[in-house]
């Protein structure tokens, strides 16, 4: 049987760039599942996916030419009913007829229910081509996209954009199917303007033929072409590219044959803030910015065309004219906005709704001022700059610049505040108060900035949770996950010892929401083990810097010899207390009565407990968590001895109660840094 390679090209109208990479992964996974389930995946099956805006491509191999034949035994009547006196009965003859074999071909098989007449049936495997032809339409339409459309009429297939052609080849043969009125075949289409629109391809020639028709199927190749093109454009000019990975990704999936060009703009626009110029270029025109040798923004830009060249410079001139118009607008906004100071815009915030149930931005600004002040006082910092920045932070929402270029919110406020003579502490706090906007983004660079940002985000979280706007699944319209993640990062990374839990109040849903964010942050971003994070969270949390110190200590102590065995013992204690229905946190009625302790391991454990308790309390006060945990771990021999030699469930109820009290003290006293019973020990993993 021969192994075959497979090519699928879904030819579409332009797919939004950002949707392509996840769609390709989805295509790969569902194809792999298909061929594995149907048993046609060859040894060392490799699946490669590629795409341009107009095509999703999957190449896979080796695939078997057909499924393996399937052999099975079909059971007929019991032997006793099939043969009488060695002669076949009508029952046996009927079964043989049904199976299309002679009676003599039937055999007797032993089954758990006794002996039965049976017949071997071979189901021939189906050709892979048929399997694919049947499965591909649903597989293609099943590719997940965030938003789909229909185009052939109501009730018709849905996809991200209309499907216009299909190439499906298994070896040399077309895999025939029809989807949305399009029949699969072996003809692809080249670049819209530079290539042919009907190109017969084979598996071997596919990429090259497309390349000759100005389509680079590989995203990597397009990326290289852009990067190398830019390098060539800038060589010898003294200019440097400002790298922008996200923009590069966009352009890679917005083009089939990318070619960068260098354009320029009037130097006089450099008097506008760089942030404005870069935003206009990046977000609105998808241009790269360029800087001079000193790192200053240069009056040039790089645009990426979806064509091979611009010999007459028409494309460059066109782009330059568009940018000129955009910058002219921006300059107009910049000048108009200066006519009214941020301070005078505060009352205008009453006209801007924050959220219907949460009032206007003026209400929000006042809440931010109050919360900012509270945070500053908690840290014994000067509250005045925080109050000032919080009051002005949202005023830029009323400026023309931010109405036009919403990405500049915060940044514009900061720039206007600087021009209007606000102190650096204040204008920088305004400028940076939306940070961090992603996991990679920096947190605000000043304490004032951090506090304004915290006030903004905590207000959003508390307000939204209070009125029931709680994120669920992928729905998070107010970006509350990002806000909470920002709070966590600021508190931990700026090392602000603020009582987060106290600040959150009694909202249980919000507290759990934060616990999820904390787990995510410490595990995925900081690389702590999940059980360490659970153990520390279970011991209680409020100040995140303290939480982090405890985690660090736990990570350090964990590999030491006594730690995990002690964790096992703590789990045992917890179980014993639970079974005895004994309080895990001892109250005043749970005093240990020394006179009731038995000499030997029990007294020794009590002695060790008291000694270690003194040390742990002192260490914990000084936040010397590693030393505290080490001290706790040193209890291991005493605990082991105790469990070895002492029966907790003593016949004398007083002695039993006393022992349970001892264990309960031990557990609660030493679970305040981390709850060891959350630790998954190596022993358990096995």
């Amino acid at each position: 049987m021969t192994d075959l390679a497979f090519l699928l090209e879904i030819g579409t109208e332009e797919i939004p760039d950002w949707m392509i990479p996840p769609a390709l992964e989805d295509l790969r996974t569902s194809f792999q599942r298909l061929v594995e389930e149907r048993g046609v995946a060859g040894d060392g099956l490799a699946i490669q996916v590629d795409a341009t805006p107009r095509r999703l491509v999957l190449r896979a191999g080796p695939l078997a030419e057909r499924q393996p034949d399937r052999e099975e035994w079909v059971l007929g009547p019991p032997r006793s009913a099939a043969f009488r006196d060695g002669q076949p009965t009508p029952a046996a003859e009927g079964f043989a007829r049904k199976m299309g074999v002679a009676v003599t071909d039937l055999v007797v098989r032993e089954t758990p229910r006794g002996e039965y007449v049976a017949c071997r049936r071979v189901t021939p495997g189906r050709p892979t081509r048929d399997i694919l032809a049947e499965a591909l339409p649903d597989l293609i339409l099943g590719i997940h996209f965030p938003k789909t459309m229909y185009w052939t009429g109501k009730g018709g297939p849905r996809f991200i954009r209309p499907i216009r052609w299909l190439v499906a080849l298994l070896g040399d043969e077309i895999v025939p199917f029809e989807l949305a009125g399009v029949r699969s075949g072996n003809h692809t289409r080249g670049h819209r303007l530079l290539g042919s629109d009907r190109i017969p391809v084979t598996l071997a020639t596919y990429s090259d033929q497309l390349r000759q028709n100005y389509v680079l199927v590989s995203a990597e190749e397009r990326r290289r072409k852009i990067e190398e093109g830019i390098e060539k454009l800038l060589a010898g000019t003294g200019l440097r590219l400002r790298p922008d990975r996200a923009l590069l990704d966009t352009l890679v999936y917005l083009t089939e044959y990318p070619t960068p060009i260098l354009g320029s703009f009037d130097r006089e626009f450099l008097s506008l803030p760089e942030e404005v110029l870069v935003t206009v270029m990046r977000h609105h025109q998808k241009y790269f910015s360029v800087e001079d040798a000193e790192g200053r923004l240069a009056p040039f830009f790089i645009a990426v065309m979806n064509t091979d060249a611009d010999p007459e410079g028409l494309v460059r001139q066109g782009n330059e004219r568009v940018l000129q118009a955009r910058f002219t607008d921006a300059r107009f906004f910049w000048e108009v906005d200066q006519q009214k100071k941020l301070e005078d815009r505060v009352p205008m915030l009453a006209q801007v709704t924050y959220q219907a149930k949460l009032g206007t931005y003026l209400d929000k600004a006042h809440r931010m001022v109050r919360l900012g002040r509270r945070l500053a006082r908690m840290l014994k910092a000067d509250p005045r700059p925080v109050e000032r920045a919080a009051l002005l932070a949202k005023c830029d929402l009323t400026t023309e610049m931010v109405k036009e270029f919403t990405e500049l919110q915060g940044i514009m406020g900061g720039l206007y505040a600087r021009r209007q003579g606000e102190p650096e502490e204040v204008w920088r706090a305004i400028y940076e108060h939306y940070r961090p906007e992603s996991m990679e983004d920096a947190i605000p660079g000043t304490l004032t900035g951090c506090l304004v940002s915290l006030a903004d985000k905590l207000d959003a979280l508390q307000g939204c949770f209070r009125v029931g706007l709680i994120p669920s699944g992928s729905r998070d319209p107010f970006a509350l996950r990002r806000a909470a993640q920002g709070v966590v990062r600021i508190l931990v990374e700026a090392r602000l010892p603020l009582p987060l839990r106290r600040l959150l109040g009694k909202d249980q849903a919000l507290i759990e929401f934060f616990e999820d964010r904390l787990r995510y942050y410490f595990r995925e971003v900081r690389g702590f083990a999940y059980d360490e994070v659970n153990a520390v969270l279970a011991a209680g949390w409020d100040d995140l810097t303290d939480l982090e110190s405890r985690l660090e200590a736990l990570r350090q102590v964990r590999p030491t010899e006594n730690f995990e065995p002690l964790a096992v013992s703590f789990k045992r204690i917890k179980n014993i207390l639970r079974q005895a229905n004994w309080p895990a946190t001892p109250d005043s009625a749970c005093q240990v009565r020394e006179e009731k302790l038995e000499a030997g391991p029990e007294k020794e454990l009590w002695g060790a407990f008291q000694r270690v308790r003194r040390e742990v309390r002192r260490r914990r006060r000084n936040k010397e968590y590693r030393e505290a945990l080490e001290a706790i771990a040193s209890l291991r021999p005493a605990v082991d001895q105790f469990f070895d030699k002492v029966l907790v469930n003593a016949p004398d109820p007083e002695i039993r109660q006393n022992r349970l009290n001892l264990l309960s003290h031990l557990l609660s006293e030493f679970s305040s840094i981390a709850d060891f019973s959350e630790i998954v020990t190596r022993q358990e993993e096995k």
């Binding site: 109208e13 332009e14 009429g153 028409l314 494309v315 066109g318 002219t328 107009f332």
Partner: protein, 295 residues
């Protein structure tokens, strides 16, 4: 070089050759060509239709007193509706650019995601903005819903921004320098219009009067929609007249907005009121179409 009017005529000619009826602009103020009955109502129901028309579109808040080189209170759209959308619609569209003298081989064309939505009309679609050398020249949309109803047949809507296209073709950095007809500029034809309407829209329009007018038109539309269910001979019922009232409301809403008379909450509420009327007309219109069919 083609003048502004040459370009308009050539594009109309181009689409006429591809089976479009060439209509004239609708005679009620609209914010976009989509709002004209030739689009909004024609896309409903299963009947095929092809139409092209120029529609001067009024957006009071975009006025700049005739001073900004790129922003206009009223701009000219060429609106093309092909229902159902032909399979080679992108190629046909690109050919229309060739028909007005654009050598695509020398330019950069991109179709960039841009889904269109009109909350006031309960309408949305999927598509792109077509970028020519970094300039958005056309909104290209496959309609999915109109008046809150899933469409039976998917039409494509092409909306060309004519001033931008003309400025591009004539290499002008201000729309006012566009040559409208030989020796006559866009500015000569339109600047007074832009200035005076900016003054009215931003400064002199009387807000209580606008509110009164809005309520009168809304009331008239509602009166008609309320009469619709009992009206004996539905085929002659004036739904088109009711729809004119929707358009009046929509324009008055835009004027109120440009006068800064709407808070954000009010804005959403007024959009909801207009939308309700539009949806009411669309639903009744579909029913009327079915009765037409049956007759």
């Amino acid at each position: 070089m083609y003048t502004f009017q040459d370009i308009l005529m050539r594009l109309k000619q181009y689409w006429a050759e591809r089976g479009c009826i060439v209509q004239e602009p609708y005679d009620v103020e609209v914010g976009a060509g989509t709002m004209c009955p030739e689009t909004f109502l024609r896309v409903l129901g299963p009947q095929p239709y092809r139409v092209a028309y120029i529609q001067p579109s009024r957006r009071p808040a975009d006025g700049r007193y005739g001073e900004n080189p790129n922003r206009l209170y009223k701009h000219w759209q060429l609106q093309v509706i092909l229902k159902p959308s032909p399979e080679d619609i992108q190629e046909q569209y690109l050919d229309s650019l060739r028909a007005i003298g654009i050598d695509l081989r020398k330019h950069d064309i991109k179709f960039e995601e841009d889904n269109w939505e009109s909350p006031t009309l309960g309408a949305w679609g999927i598509g792109w903005q077509v970028m020519l050398d970094g300039l958005e020249i056309t909104q290209f949309t496959y309609f999915q819903q109109c008046g809150g109803l899933d469409l039976d047949v998917v039409p494509v809507e092409l909306t060309y921004g004519m001033e931008r296209l003309a400025a591009f073709l004539q290499n002008k950095s201000s729309v006012y320098d566009i040559e409208w007809a030989p020796g006559i500029t866009y500015g000569q034809v339109r600047r007074a219009d832009e200035l005076q309407f900016s003054v009215y829209n931003f400064e002199l329009a009387d807000v209580p009067t606008l509110w009164r007018l809005f309520e009168l038109h809304e009331g008239e539309c509602r009166r008609l929609l309320d009469a619709w269910p009992q009206y004996p001979d539905k085929r002659r019922f004036p739904l088109l007249a009711a729809y004119d009232q929707v358009l009046k409301c929509s324009h008055l809403f835009n004027l109120l907005d440009s006068r800064g008379a709407l808070s954000v909450t009010e804005r959403a509420a007024v959009i909801g009121r207009v939308r309700k009327l539009a949806v009411g007309v669309a639903e009744a219109w579909l029913e009327q179409l079915r009765l037409e069919e049956a007759a």
